[in-house]
């Protein structure tokens, strides 16, 4: 479990990092927290010619509010997110999901940008990004562009980021007043990737549901936005019958695979169960505030 030879670069700016990526013409990999990439290197499953380490690039770790969004620098550690008052107050769904990411030592190193760019479909952050319909900022020598969650995730561990592009920021819409949220997850052990995880956000408006956002982790090749289930809630409200109907619909919307941990049928079933549980919790929270 020793990696093959690679060059190592620790640039101090994003521009320098971009120049290095360009120089290696797609043969270099960006190193953030290293919680997934380093094992891949050691297993020799990834064999980049070079690593471009972002850990010494200043100005990539921050959490701030702007234009109704919470913007997180790509190198913001999961541990910082876990304890951020901005996150707790404005994107509490992200905070709740963070506590399910690995264990303390992992969260101390792992970053939000790294987790999203790695695009593991059973990871929590890609599901949160998908549910909230957030966006990421990607920089390349050609300039900066914004990618919505739906445009970013392509397949297992695959994004639409170009090889010479660096994800520099994650933008999540702040929760409106009257919002309730929940991240429900079932994993084999605490801290494991989800067998299925559900990110849910609902906004109550009197008896109506003004907005519902649902996404599933672990239920396909990419995080799955459960739009048709959201529509049921937005149409019928947050009563038990509507929630049951949304949960049943959600189970139909996913096409999970079987693996050593769970069968596809179980994952599909769990999607329904966890959507229901997530919605009940989210609705209760929305009620408490609205």
């Amino acid at each position: 479990m020793k990696p093959p030879r690679f060059d190592y670069h620790a640039p101090s700016s994003v521009d320098e990092a971009l120049a290095l990526l360009a120089r290696y013409g797609g043969e270099a990999k960006v190193l953030a927290g290293g919680q997934s990439l380093v094992p891949l290197l050691n297993f020799r499953l990834a064999r980049p010619a070079a690593l471009v380490d972002l850990n010494r690039v200043s100005g990539l770790a921050y959490i701030r509010e702007a234009e109704g969004q919470v913007r997180l620098g790509a190198m913001t550690r999961q541990r910082a997110i876990e304890f951020s008052p901005v996150v707790a107050g404005r994107v509490p769904l992200l905070g709740e999901a963070t506590r399910l990411v690995g264990h303390l030592p992992i969260r101390t190193r792992g970053t939000i940008g790294g987790s999203i760019a790695h695009a593991d479909p059973s990871a929590e952050y890609p599901a949160v990004l998908t549910a909230l319909d957030g966006e990421v900022v990607a920089r390349s020598p050609r300039g900066e562009r914004l990618l919505r969650a739906g445009e970013l995730f392509r397949s297992y561990l695959t994004t639409s980021l170009a090889p010479d592009e660096i994800l520099t920021e994650v933008r999540l819409p702040a929760a409106p007043a009257g919002a309730g949220w929940a991240f429900e997850e079932l994993s084999r052990r605490h801290g494991d990737f989800a067998i299925v995880g559900i990110a849910a956000l609902v906004v109550r408006d009197g008896p109506r549901c003004a907005m519902a956002r649902l996404a599933a982790a672990g239920a396909g090749a990419v995080p799955v936005r459960l739009r048709a289930a959201e529509e049921i809630l937005e149409r019928e409200g947050l009563g038990d019958a509507a929630i049951d109907a949304a949960a049943a619909r959600a189970a139909d919307l996913v096409s999970p695979d079987s693996d050593v941990h769970a069968s596809a049928a179980y994952r599909r079933h769990l999607t329904g169960v966890l959507v229901r549980r997530a919605l009940h919790r989210a609705a209760a929270r929305a009620g408490a505030r609205g």
Binding site: M1, K2, P4, R189, Y266, V273
Partner: protein
């Protein structure tokens, strides 16, 4: 009488080093000049003929000094002896065929490990892939791929053992219960993997091997033979610290031979540290087993007899000490129950999976998972409470020492008292009432029980149970038996005490415990005892059975230390008697010195006597050896060879475990929540309760791994599906239930301190108690747990199938 140290939860002297990163593990061994590093080329195929090797590209790489292939292994080594009569040729690397994914096929030696791994990729091995088989029953079907042509089938060993008259027991039974069980293949994943550092001295013809080998040291002569070395030219050295083993490191010895060969062929010191991928792929694990069980009983719940039919899967080769997977518990096959009639049909099967060996609870996790499952089936069949069925069959307290029908000699115990203690601690009656309330509310709430006889200190003689009695009756056959350990105590001129052990501890706290034992014996404080516990076969006492495995140390290692201390005391009394010119019988050793038995008179402290003995040898009595250095070697007389009727006292001391668990199963997700877990142990005298408790915690979590999480799972083609810690799931502290522990102490009459082993403990009961609790929870649905591990997905499918079946049955 001074202070007693035995029975106190003394903090471990080992921990300061371990917690501050000063442990001395194999990878920390001081650099050996000129050391080179090995990377092992492993088969990607589960079953393939090896047609040839091309090592030229690897050898051309700068810094690569040699490549050892199967050809070298075949030319320069012999196959290992195996524990069965079948002609299985097991070499330290594949020679003709690869028989499991991960089997070593070549070794690259290079300047550093990175380079060695690069070069390992450049080694070309030409394979002809062959069909694979991974299931032990399918491997015995006609037409199955045969792994070893010389054997002719995949059956490594087959024995039918009959005790009493099972035929009659089944004929006379009111009820017969039958069930099929599947036990998973899992290991222990010690935090430190295997490591070997070998140096060949061609001038003296000595191969020195540093490794984290834990014994049994029978593997030393086996390895010497493989390498063509006289035993006293092969030196095994074990570093002061081993980072856990749980039986797994017994099976490092083929790597000792392989890396030893690499050192001998290249003429350079060679180091190899197994990485985690290699460990999961190819170190060692327990067997997966298919078991068919039958139980005959009377209507009142009395068990009359049992039948076991086992298919133990040992993987590509049967590696010694297998087939211990079947026979290690021979003496305690009947567990804590008093039935007399038993038939055991044990088939040891070779398939294209990795190899097996001792794994905490060696074979007992399997045994009790089945037996305790059967006791619940019996209770269910008769409509009795599972506690009552067990109680009715327990060996009564006045029957000890108890000879089991299979030859075991249970030295002491009060199973009834320990079981009652467990039921009382768990408030069993209240749990049943809670269950009734939960069921009425539609919840899936279950209570499980498991009882086990916990064998410690294997008698090496049990291994021969695998051989036919006719084979054992041949005049050239040498019977085998034994379980011994040695200790040496030295007193320096100022009266300070040093104890030298060679028990290869792997984290069990031997130094702490030996200090407690010797402090009590000599009436001194534990901090005044220095304990050195480092194995070196050139300088330390050792024998065939040496090492730390099968929960030996608490029973035999401590006995050796106590024995040596007692011999030292006898010598001190004799010396003092000479100085005082009184008969030795008038004196006794107590409170750290020699005193008159009665009345007043001069006394001599250890320090007084030590100073005189060292400085003034003229003061010694005629015939007394100078110096204050005493060795004791303790051996069990009850370790006898297997007899002609296949009876054998397979262990030397036998403890007892009684457990109660309550669980709730989420009917939607099938997630199991442990609500209560009580475990009561009888390991005789407890020397250090804190260490004992640590062992129970570890054993319980290990058993929980097998019950709920861990499996070395393979696909049909023999590819490992759980080759990383993302897929092979070891329970962590987050998964640990609250564990309520209590002890009952029935001292062993066979050991000087009355202590028994306890290192394997709940690893052998937790698979049973969890399965029984979950079966009880799912009883309203008619689901029984007969296979482990119970992943939620698998359990949910069982529940779905049961519900579908119930619907089908209720639909006319």
């Amino acid at each position: 009488m001074g202070e007693r140290w035995i029975g106190r939860p003394l903090k471990r002297v080992e921990d300061a080093h371990l917690l501050t990163g000063r442990g001395a593990f194999i990878d920390d061994h001081p650099p050996v000049p000129g050391v080179h590093h090995a990377a092992i080329v492993r088969s990607p195929h589960a079953h393939a003929r090896i047609l040839g090797y091309d090592v030229s590209a690897a050898l051309r790489m700068e810094g690569v000094v040699g490549v050892i292939t199967g050809d070298d292994v075949a030319r320069h080594t012999k196959p290992f002896s195996v524990g069965v009569a079948a002609p299985v040729h097991y070499y330290c690397a594949a020679t003709d065929k690869a028989r499991f994914v991960g089997e070593p096929v070549a070794v690259v030696v290079a300047r550093d490990r990175y380079l060695a791994e690069d070069a390992a990729e450049a080694v070309v091995v030409h394979y002809e892939p062959l069909p694979a088989v991974v299931d032990p029953e399918k491997a015995l079907e006609p037409g199955a791929p045969v792994l070893h042509e010389a054997v002719g089938s995949n059956l490594a060993s087959h024995r039918r053992l009959v005790y009493g008259d099972p035929e009659r027991a089944f004929a006379e039974a009111d009820v017969v219960v039958r069930e099929r069980f599947r036990f998973p293949k899992y290991g222990s994943t010690p935090i430190e993997t295997y490591g070997v550092l070998a140096r060949w001295d061609p001038l003296e013809g000595v191969l020195t091997v540093w490794s984290n080998f834990m014994g049994p040291f029978i593997m030393h002569p086996l390895t010497a033979r493989v390498l063509g070395l006289p035993e006293n030219r092969l030196r095994f050295v074990v570093p002061p610290d081993i980072g856990g083993s749980f039986g797994i490191k017994t099976s490092i010895y083929p790597y000792i031979a392989l890396i030893g060969l690499a050192a001998m062929r290249t003429g350079l010191p060679v180091k190899w540290i197994e990485d985690r991928r290699e460990h999961l792929l190819a170190s060692s694990s327990g067997t997966d087993r298919v078991a068919y069980r039958e139980l005959a009983a009377r209507r009142d719940g009395t068990v009359l007899g049992m039948r076991f039919r086992w298919f133990d899967n040992v993987g590509g080769y049967i590696r010694s000490p297998e087939p211990g997977c079947s026979f290690r518990p021979t003496g305690n096959f009947v567990g804590p129950y008093r039935f007399q009639h038993l038939e055991v049909e044990a088939s040891t099967v070779m398939t294209n999976k990795s190899l097996t060996g001792p794994n905490r609870g060696y074979a007992c996790g399997h045994l009790y998972f089945e037996t305790e499952g059967m006791m619940d089936r019996l209770a269910e069949t008769l409509g009795m409470d599972p506690a009552e069925v067990r109680r009715r069959n327990l060996i009564p307290r006045d029957a000890f020492p108890y000879r089991t029908p299979t030859g075991g000699l249970y030295d002491s115990g009060d199973y009834q008292a320990a079981f009652d203690r467990a039921l009382e601690l768990a408030r069993y009656g209240e749990l049943r009432r809670e269950q009734a309330r939960a069921r009425a509310a539609g919840r899936l709430y279950g209570i499980g029980l498991a009882l086990a006889v916990d064998p410690s200190v294997s008698n090496m003689g049990y291994v021969a149970t695998a051989l036919d009695p006719q084979f054992r009756a041949k005049p050239e056959y040498l019977p085998k038996s034994g379980a011994v350990d040695g200790a040496t105590i030295k007193v320096d001129p100022l009266g300070r005490v040093t104890v030298v052990m060679a028990t290869t501890p792997q984290g069990q706290g031997h130094r702490t415990v030996v200090a407690q034992v010797v402090a009590d014996e000599l009436g001194i404080r534990p901090e005044d005892v220095t304990v050195v516990d480092e194995m070196d076969t050139f300088t330390r006492f050792w024998s065939i059975s040496s090492g730390t495995y099968s929960s030996r140390f608490g029973s035999v290692g401590t006995s050796a230390a106590a024995l040596a201390a007692r011999k030292l005391k006898a010598k001190l009394v004799e010396y003092a008697a000479h100085l005082m010119e009184v008969p030795a019988g008038d004196l006794e050793f107590r409170d750290g010195g020699v005193h008159p038995r009665r009345g007043k008179g001069p006394s001599y402290s250890i320090k007084d006597l030590a100073g005189r003995a060292h400085w003034h040898t003229q003061s010694l009595p005629e015939g007394m050896e100078p110096g204050l250095q005493v060795s004791g070697v303790f051996g069990f007389r009850v370790a006898e060879a297997v007899d002609a009727a296949d009876r054998v006292n397979s262990s030397n001391t036998y403890g007892f475990i009684a457990e109660v668990m309550a669980v709730e199963v989420d009917p939607e997700t099938a997630v199991i929540k442990i609500l209560k877990y009580v475990t009561v142990h009888d390991a005789g005298t407890i020397i250090n309760p804190m260490i004992a408790e640590g062992q129970i915690y570890g054993g319980a979590l290990h058993g929980l791994g097998g019950a709920l999480y861990e499996e070395l799972a393979y696909d049909e083609d023999g590819q490992l599906l759980t080759g990383t810690f993302m897929d092979y799931l070891v329970p962590t502290a987050s998964e640990a239930p609250v564990i309520e522990i209590a002890h009952v102490e029935s001292p062993s009459p066979l050991t000087p301190l009355g202590s028994k082993g306890l290192g394997e403990s709940s690893s052998m009961t937790v698979p049973a108690v969890v399965a029984n609790a979950v079966s009880d929870a799912l009883a309203p649905l008619g689901v029984r747990i007969t296979e482990l591990p119970m992943a939620p997905s698998r359990l949910w499918e069982l529940i779905q199938a049961a519900r579908a079946g119930a619907v089908a049955r209720s639909t006319p």
